[in-house]
C-alpha cells in the first residue's frame, strides 16, 4: 500500500506534466516566429512549470516532470523538436537550479526566469548547431539572449501573480510540505 505522500507526489507531478504540455500547445498559438525569426524561439511558458516544480516539489521531482514533459511532447511534435526541447529544457533546469540557491537574497523569480529563458534558448541553439553541423551561434546567440531576457521577464510577471495566489491561499503549505516559497516569506516551521 503506497503511502499517502507518495500518491500525492505522483498525482501532483502528473498534473504538472499535463500543465506543461498544455502550456506548450497553447503558446504555439502565438505567432512569435513572425516577430522574431529565429528557429526555436518560444515564449517558454513551460519553464514556469519547471520553476514551480523546482521550488515546490524539489529538484528531483522537477527534473522528472521536465523529462516526462519533453518526451510526451515529442509524441506530438516529432523527434527533432523533442531533442531541442530536451536540450533547452535541461539547460534551463540547470540554470534555474543554480540560481535558486541565491533566491530571496540575490534573485527574485525575475532573475531565475531570465536565467532559465536565456539558458533554454542557448540550449536549443547548441542542439541545432550540433545537429546541423553548422555554426549558428554567431548569427543567433545575440538575439536569443535578448529574447530570453524579454520572455523571462514576461513569464515571471505573469507567473508571479499565480504564485502569490497559491502561496497566500495556503495551498502550497498544505500539499507541498517541502516547498520553498517563491513569493512570500518563509515561515519557520515548528
Amino acid at each position: 500500500m503506497m503511502k499517502k505522500k507518495m500518491v500525492q507526489k505522483i498525482t501532483i507531478s502528473a498534473l504538472l506534466v499535463a500543465l506543461a504540455l498544455a502550456l506548450s500547445v497553447a503558446e504555439r498559438l502565438l505567432p512569435i516566429g513572425a516577430l522574431i525569426p529565429v528557429p526555436g524561439v518560444k515564449l517558454g511558458l513551460a519553464n514556469v512549470v519547471t520553476m514551480l516544480a523546482l521550488f515546490y516539489i524539489g529538484a528531483r521531482g522537477a527534473l522528472v516532470v521536465l523529462v516526462l514533459r519533453c518526451l510526451l511532447g515529442g509524441l506530438f511534435t516529432g523527434i527533432t523538436a523533442m531533442i531541442f526541447s530536451l536540450s533547452g529544457g535541461l539547460l534551463a533546469f540547470a540554470a534555474m537550479l543554480a540560481l535558486k540557491q541565491w533566491h530571496a537574497r540575490a534573485f527574485s523569480i525575475f532573475g531565475i526566469s531570465i536565467g532559465g529563458a536565456a539558458a533554454h534558448n542557448a540550449g536549443q541553439i547548441i542542439a541545432a548547431s550540433l545537429l546541423l553541423g553548422q555554426n549558428l551561434y554567431t548569427t543567433y546567440l545575440p538575439i536569443l539572449l535578448l529574447t530570453g531576457l524579454a520572455t523571462g521577464v514576461i513569464t515571471a510577471a505573469a507567473a508571479g501573480a499565480l504564485f502569490i495566489r497559491l502561496e497566500k491561499s495556503g495551498v502550497i503549505s498544505r500539499y507541498f510540505p517541502d516547498a520553498h516559497l517563491m513569493m512570500t516569506a518563509e515561515r519557520k516551521r515548528a
Partner: protein, 121 residues
Amino acid sequence: MKIRLGDILLAAAALAAALLLLFVRAPQDAPAVAVVLRGGEEIARINLQNPETEEVRIDEPGIVIRIEDGRIRFEASSCPDQTCVHTGWLSRAGDIAVCLPNEVIVKVEGGETDDIDVVAE
C-alpha cells in the same frame, strides 16, 4: 514582487553579451557564394554576383528559394513556423537561414570559387 540586485545584474549581463556579440562580428567583403544544404548534403551552390539561377525549388517538401540582387532568401516553405521565410534576405558571409523541420539550410560563404585563389598567367 521585489526586484533584487541579482536580477538587474543578470539582465545587464545578458544584454551586454548580446550587444558584444552583435558588434564583434567581423566585417566582411561582399561575398559571392550561397550554398543550399538539404539533410546535410549540398544541393546547390550559387554565385551571388553572377547567379546561375534565380530560383531553387525543392518540391518535396515545398520550398522555394529566391536569388536576387546578390542576395538569397527562403521565399516560401511548407513548414508551420515560417521562421525560415521570416529570416529574410541573406547577403553577407556567415548569414544563414534554417528551415528546421525540413532540414534545409541556406548559407552565404565568403570568397570566390572555393578552392581557386588566383590564376597564374
